[in-house]
């Protein structure tokens, strides 16, 4: 007979005894346990939240307020007291956007816009870049400024950009402001995309608030398919290969063989894709479960045939944001502006300075510096439309430099951005000389060419990731040098692959999944859609289990190979 006691016993057996302390832990900020989508706690909280949400689906302000409260709680669990910062910045931004909207005089509108941009970037600058600037200043001028003990509030880079999009779109009269603060706060704090994107644009999102809330079976199918894929990508592939292999090699590249360094670079490429796109997919899926459609953020980026193509497939919400609000603002492909020339000039000047100061030891830095500048200049000097291409390339380069810096405060992110900026410029001039024949039939040659383009683009991207991942510039150079010493020793490689069997299997799985033809993915989706409700639940439950079992898996003991 089932009694309360027996239920209780079963519960204790499976979940452990519940203490008051634990329950408190669910609701109180703990910097060591962030509330990520792939945690059990989120699942539990979401289930409760979602149940009530379903009942509120026909209400409007009640539902918005309910979601806002959950979002704020969600943010509090990630950043503690800094949820107040989110509230404060939203109040200020909302106020300024109202003023801009009501202001009739163009020049005054602009002043308010500038104030708001300065405030937003100032906030971001203080929390994210203060210490980086201090360190850079101290290094360059032997200064002695003390570092600030700054906490980086989670997702500040994302929600700052999102609020800025709202204000700029109002300034550009692309959207109308929300009717009141609640609606605005709902947009800014919407928890699925709050801490790691996608960066939702006001003009895509706001209209959905006013629509009648609806959720179809197809929506749920899409959402679950995204969540399942996201969970596997993020928690199984990305987390496992990073802790058991990639992190170790990048921690101390010279302690590992050339082959391990190379594999760690490939490993990081699939790791960052799975991490980032996996989390995005979960965010999009969860938003969809609530009835909101967020735009896709990644479209199998390593299938890109060029670097330009790559940026249309990688972190799409960021690249379109940067295009619309940074690239266009500094002149786009129309005009050169001070800002557009300033940053590339500073960068190339710094590069040259680095080359000269190191020339006593090695000529290579100087060659790289001069080469980089030469390639950049050639990318517009060779063009038939010299002036326009120059302006475009400078603005593009600025966008990529600042876009690089957005990812993190560090010189290596600037280098990463610069490499991509340079590659975009080179690709543009290449296309000008060899325009792609769109109407050409696919023959053997074009297939080979496409294959070659994908391989080349992929390897360039992987090369750039080395800078992105390495903790500093020297480490990146160590990894690159080490890979440069790779020799063909298949039996050694085999030993290494067998030594890290799980890691390499997961990497292979990640890449095969990524490069699967779209037809296959579509088929899988079709089968999933046709699965009955209970079947879907079982599939999802199984994925939960995989996530759990990977999370408790011990880390692989380190291995040293003797060659």
């Amino acid at each position: 007979m089932i009694t309360v006691d027996s239920i209780n016993d079963w519960f204790v057996q499976n979940f452990g005894a519940l203490t008051l302390e634990q329950v408190k832990g669910w609701f109180i900020y703990n910097p060591e346990e962030k509330l990520l989508f792939n945690t059990g706690l989120f699942l539990g909280l979401f289930l409760v939240f979602y149940f009530v949400y379903a009942f509120l689906r026909k209400t409007f302000y009640l539902r918005l307020t309910y979601v806002i409260l959950f979002s704020l709680f969600f943010y509090y669990k990630s950043s503690g007291i800094y949820f107040l910062l989110l509230l404060l910045s939203s109040v200020v931004d909302y106020g300024l956007s109202q003023i801009i909207y009501k202001e009739a005089i163009k020049s005054r509108k602009k002043i308010y816009l500038v104030i708001s941009v300065i405030l937003n970037l100032g906030l971001l600058g203080y929390f994210k870049y203060m210490n980086f600037m201090i360190v850079t200043y101290n290094d360059m001028f032997h200064g002695n400024f003390e570092l600030h003990d700054v906490f980086l509030p989670v997702g500040i880079s994302f929600y700052t950009f999102q609020s800025m999009s709202y204000i700029i779109e109002i300034y550009r009269e692309e959207i109308k402001p929300t009717k009141n603060y609640i609606e605005y706060l709902f947009f800014v704090s919407f928890f699925p995309q709050l801490v790691a994107g996608p960066i939702v644009r006001a003009k895509d999102f706001l209209p959905q608030i006013y629509q009648k809330l609806n959720l179809t079976k197809a929506d749920v199918n899409n959402a679950l398919f995204l969540i399942i894929g996201g969970l596997i990508k993020k928690t199984v592939i990305s987390n496992y290969i990073s802790i058991n292999f990639v992190d170790r090699v990048f921690d101390s590249p010279m302690s590992y063989t050339s082959f391990e360094n190379l594999m760690a670079s490939y490993g990081y490429a699939i790791q960052i894709y799975c991490d980032f796109s996996g989390y995005s997919d979960m965010a999009i899926g969860i938003a969809l479960l609530l009835g909101f459609k967020l735009p896709a953020n990644f479209r199998t980026p390593y299938k890109s045939v060029s670097i330009t193509d790559f940026w249309r497939r990688w972190h799409i919400s960021l690249s379109t944001w940067l295009k619309d609000f940074l690239y266009i603002s500094i002149g786009g492909n129309r005009e050169g502006t001070f800002a557009g020339f300033l940053f590339p000039s500073i960068f190339f000047f710094g590069l040259l300075l680095w080359g000269i100061t190191n020339s006593a030891e090695s000529i290579i830095p100087l060659v790289i510096a001069v080469g980089g500048i030469a390639v950049f200049c050639l990318s517009f000097l060779l063009s038939s439309k010299l002036k326009q291409t120059m302006v475009t390339n400078f603005n593009l380069f600025t966008t990529m430099l600042l876009g690089g810096l957005w990812h993190g405060a560090g010189a290596q992110f600037i280098i990463w951005g610069a490499l991509h900026g340079l590659a975009l410029a080179v690709h543009k001039i290449f296309v000008e000389f060899f325009p792609s024949q769109k109407d050409s039939k696919s023959n053997v040659l074009s297939v080979i060419w496409k294959f070659f383009s994908i391989v080349l683009t992929f390897h360039f991207v992987v090369f750039c990731w080395i800078f992105f991942r390495a903790k500093d510039f020297d480490t990146a150079i160590q990894v690159i040098n080490n890979i440069g010493q790779l020799t063909f020793e298949p039996d050694h490689w085999q030993t290494i692959v067998l030594g890290y069997k799980n890691v390499f299997l997961l990497m292979l799985f990640g890449y095969v999944w990524h490069f699967l033809p779209e037809v296959v993915t579509a088929k899988m989706k079709l089968v999933f859609d046709k699965t009955p409700l209970i079947g879907k639940a079982i599939v999802l439950g199984f994925v939960y289990w995989i996530v759990y079992a990977t999370a408790v898996a011990g880390s692989q003991p380190f291995i040293y190979f003797q060659f």
């Binding site: 949400y53 379903a54 921690d251 999802l540 190979f561």
Partner: protein, 491 residues
Amino acid sequence: MNTKSYFFQSFAIVALAFVAFIGFKQVLPDKIFPESKVDTKNVLVDSMLLESFEKQSVSKKDSADADNQADEDIVYDSNEGIEFPSETFDNYKGYQYLISFYDKLYQLEKHPEAKVRIAYYGDSMTDGDLIVQDVRTNYQERFGGMGVGFVSITSESSASRASIKSLYSKNWKMQSYLNVKKPVSPFGVNGHVFFANDKSNSTWVSYEAGLNKFSTTLDNPTLFYGRSSRTGKVNFIVGKDTISKNLAPGNLVNTLKVTSKSIKGFKAKFVNADSIPIYGFNFDNGSGVHVDNFSQRGNSGMPISMFDASVMQGFNNSLKYDLVILHYGTNVLNYGTKNYSWYGKGMTKVVDKIKASFPGVSILIISTADKSTKYDMVMKTDSAVVPLMKAQKRYALDTQSGFVNLYTLMGGDGSMVKWVDESPARANKDYTHFNQRGAKAIGGLLYEQLNKGYEQYKALREKREADIKKGKTVRKTNTDSVSVIKDSVNE
């Protein structure tokens, strides 16, 4: 298309999935990705460690740490009138057993042309000269001395070593104490022996000074090689000059100086040196403190017991060691046991061998550092760390060696997690190895503890001197490790 609201179905799926998860959790195994046994071919594993572990698993389980008594009192007998205060097992440091080393340091402080030499044996923790280079710098800063000490011919970790850069041809034949029981020729002081057997291609090694303070040049580079019935030749290429020299392998250990100058780098090419055991090069300026790094990945320390004492004495004649440090443990942690008496026994043999090889040398044991393992999703101190540390302390005490408890020194329980997670990090994501920054901190902590003992030694020594002046007779006790009774300093 069905456009009916699907909220509750949606909720049902997520909720049912949760139920399914509970079900799966009951029937499916706890973990995926089991820690599979790695094929040991081509993987660095200490074969002696495997053997002695297997032997102990076959034999009955010893009664676990019955002799670990934290408050056990350790009282020292006076050594040349110096007697460190008594201590407990819990806080055991054993400075008393480092007196002969401290005495040599003291002499060096008085006479800067004197020498003190330390052999630092370790595992991957000290690879790339991590930790050791910081101990070396600390000593050289205070007591003088230049040079990185003895360096092997080839090493898996030479690429990661910044204190000296070395490159070598791929055709060296190497035998290591890690996995070879009966080498063709005895192992050198570094536990390796190298042969230049290739007749068609030249077998070479080159060294270039690194950028570390006190080792920006290679001072008195000297080749060490062993006995062979055949003779051979070596060409030293220094800058544009080539110096050709004959190898005369008559003694167990032979030396050959490249140059008496301080140079930036050189290359040694071995010609017809077939079957001559080559050991490595020594770099030191002839005075001050020199610290040799004998690190070997995968080592438990136990292979040292295979050393040939007479060969080691040959090395000791030229290098004259005053302190041998044994820094091991990392490779002994992953065997699912908490009873380390077998390891203590193995290491006792190691200490005995060291005493026979380097007569009168002081010995210092450094315990395992903290290491974390995942228990139910959380990284915590591995449950084997404390038992191993205690076993190391026990054998240190039993063999009359000094002891550094690196585990407590770095912060004790849970400290590795902190070292990995703090920003900037001081340890790597394998929750085992320190990075450059962490190694520097560890080197500093080790030096600090050793130096504390030295300062205490000096104070005790001054007290003794004062006592002598006052006319008191020094209580002379014959201790077992050091039998010198008369006061050599005040004669």
